[in-house]
Symmetry: C3
Subunit: 352 residues, 3 copies
């Protein structure tokens, strides 16, 4: 009898395990959705700050490019149409492209560059999860550095880490450097001796960046993306920066600090507990990256605003500022998965 | 009987635990001292090396600024009087400022900048422990990068790590970069195209830096602070660099190496066992940071001198050098907690 | 009886342990070979790319210098003869030089520089294991930055890590930056305001670098060495970069990413599983480091070529390229330990 019970319970146990395994597998298969997006590349005038405009080759006419937000394992198709007068590609930075190397987007290595007027279709599986990005891979010293050919690609993990699950607000900060002497000379620029003189978060310099609005108890995730040519040192005041992910991959354990050094191509996801109401700076500690041209108090700077303290302080530079949401794609990130254009980043078409 | 004994011993055990808890809590409460310091900001001429002088806005007339050395949890008050002709603030870099955001020292965000002749009082709790620093937050591209407005803020931990307890000698190295064309044009500088041409440890370039004097068996702690505008790669010869802290926070486990990459705003505490008598270089491996103007053999360089080998070697550049102690605040760090001015760093007042 | 058996087995156990200990010690003593090498320093013309030549002070007339490949614990002797008209030394970067500080190769600190025509002998134990390098320590802003005075020093570990044992192909990538205006002015250069305009892997710019040829199942090790003056961000497409070693020391656990930030003097060993047949880029993500002078598509770039996909693709820039093996010392690394000159890196002697 004992044996038969034991056998029975053993059978039941095996059964339960099997069911759990099956359940665990379901998301991996059933959720692998097919997603198809269209991107155009357009000659577009954007404004970094004040009167400092720039001729870009902008994906869907905006810088940063549209947010592409998909689930790990999704089958992604992107049709890219080049409406400019120069060749381009898209490299999906961080995607492993297993079995799809010809969708890696490198001219002279994985494809012929997309000529003006042509359309090219990229197909790949969204793998691995994490903070990724996409950018042109033609003449990167010009197209990536100062023609705004970059945007965020966020791949949601099937199994998020505990620390990720605590996040209440999610922000994307793409960091760039610009050489204004090439602003309106498309097809030129990015040469030795260039004098970099503008620095931006999501293509805007302070004071035309936007605050990060929180309340006590929020947990924010800053997805830093090194989209430009320089190293940046992102310093957040008043809170502990927990550096949790590098290039989309979780670190073994978050590294604590207050300043995050990030180089071109790198991404760091920093998670901070909003436990300290106040007005706090986030800025590049490379001092010269907080200037606009030859003027101080610009560049890569923004603030965290707690609703508990408000913004109505006589000394606060942004006390009368009009708040523009979604500047960090924080609203788009809450929407359904897919591709999200944003009016916030839309420039002016440039007619030939 | 057994039960009563058991109960008794259980009672005693609980009692002992409670006592231990109480004992553990005592330092956290009883040692939270109130500490009040005065700082002035003064137009001051310092010399980086040779005849290369610089007009600075120096805290208490010295660069680096006075060492502020306090215990974790201390209540700190600093009265800052601006005796220059330009506005300034002090940001206490790394301090969490819990509940005291208006002491964070950021103009246009947490206060009006301190106008010439005015005094502003900062009040905050020294939290967290570690290698911190303080600096002006007005026009940082000029004031921090090349007007010497920075100093060390060391917060002793209540519960030091085992590796910290092994340290026998403690050194502060603040790294900076300078543009000599602005040397005597206060209120100007820090613009695109600037040519950096001087690099310093604690505001001195080699050969006017000082050696680190040790004997076999010492364990030294180098508190590297990125106070300037560039990334530095600090290479120590002949010893294993154990990178133990980033921005004041202990790393999960020290990272071993021989070269420490440090960006603006960052701090790394490197601990090295002095087990190898000799004369050894510590220098920036960014080669161009070991020049003074257009001359080689300068900048961010110093040596470790073991008493076992002495300095009387015919080839040794510093064999006749006059040793100036406390150049790394190593003597001040041994004194009682508080603020420590240092004659070593004192410049010349500049009269209008 | 029981006791005696027990005693006997205890004796046998102790005996076995002792034997194991003895066996474990044998390699540490018996394999510590004496190795002696000769190096000369020669005025040598090399070509970075196209017609861009450079006057170097090359070890054995080649840049990079010969591969020195030894076993941990070996006793190394190197006789260095200076055949140029300027003084030099060799610093063995990463070697602890325990008890041999006068072989550390620093002018004015551990020796008089080696004058033209003179020979100096360095003697040291190869310790610790890992990816090390050697370079001149005189006027490093010129000699190291742009006179090619550097080469790899690989110290094999006596007890390799499990991850190291999986490696099937081993590559050395030394990264440098050059200022062409000094190309043919030996004894000058490396001053503030210098415009860097060439960037190289093993002293060659794309497209004159060489592909990394693999097949599925290979595990490659990229030994990145920051030999120049700038920070580089080495991005590998299509694979997970496992950063396993810093400065020769194993990290506690490899860090995953796709972009490795490396500063001057640093080394990172990156291990990648070749599980994804295709043609893949490896390049510096500092965009301006992928130019040659004022031309795009150059600098620090190369590819991984899988034999499974071949190179005969119409879009592939290197489909007709003549393959030169050992460009990454990958062949030399398979040979017996010792010093390996390489024809690949040999320049032209410059006669006075
Ligand atoms: Cu890329
Ligand atoms: Cu700050
Ligand atoms: Cu060195």
């Amino acid at each position: 009898m004992k044996n038969s019970i034991s056998l029975f319970s053993s059978y039941r146990f095996t059964h339960i395990i099997l069911m759990l395994v099956v359940l665990a597998l379901i998301p991996l298969t059933s959720q692998a959705e097919k997603r198809e997006f269209d991107l155009s590349i357009e000659d577009t005038r954007i404004v970094l700050v004040g009167k400092r405009d720039f001729h870009t080759f902008a994906f869907n006419g905006q810088v940063p490019a549209p947010l592409i937000h998909v689930m790990e394992g999704d089958d992604v198709t992107v049709n890219v149409t080049n409406m400019t007068t120069l060749p381009h590609t898209i490299h999906w930075h961080g995607m492993l492209q297993r079995g799809t190397w010809q969708s890696d987007g490198v001219p002279h290595a994985t494809q012929h560059a997309i000529e003006p007027g042509d359309t090219f279709t990229y197909k790949f599986k969204a793998e691995p999860a994490g903070t990724m990005w996409y950018h042109c891979h033609v003449n990167v010293n010009e197209h990536v550095t100062m023609r705004g050919m970059w945007g965020p690609l966020i791949v949601e993990p099937k199994n998020p880490l505990p620390i990720e699950k605590t996040v209440t607000k999610d922000y994307i900060l793409m960091l760039s450097d610009w050489v204004s002497s090439w602003a309106n000379k498309p097809g030129e620029g990015g040469i030795p001796g260039d004098v970099f003189d503008y620095y931006t978060i999501n293509a805007k310099s302070f004071p035309e960046t936007q605050p990060i609005r929180v309340k006590k108890g929020d947990v924010i995730r800053l997805r830093l993306i090194g989209a430009g040519d320089h190293v940046h040192a992102i310093h957040t005041h008043g809170h502990i920066s927990q550096i949790a992910f590098k290039d989309g991959f979780p670190l073994d354990k978050p590294i604590k600090g207050d300043t995050v050094l990030i180089g071109p191509g790198e991404r760091y996801d920093v998670i901070l507990n909003m436990d300290n109401p106040g007005l706090w700076m986030i800025h590049d500690h490379v001092d010269t990256h907080t200037t606009n041209g030859d003027k101080p108090d610009g560049g890569i700077m923004t603030t965290i605003e707690y609703e508990e303290v408000g913004i109505d302080h006589p000394f606060y530079v942004w006390k009368d500022k009009k708040f523009v949401p979604d500047f960090y794609y924080e609203e788009s990130l809450k929407k359904d998965l897919g591709m999200h254009n944003s009016k916030v980043f839309k420039g002016e078409p440039i007619e030939e």
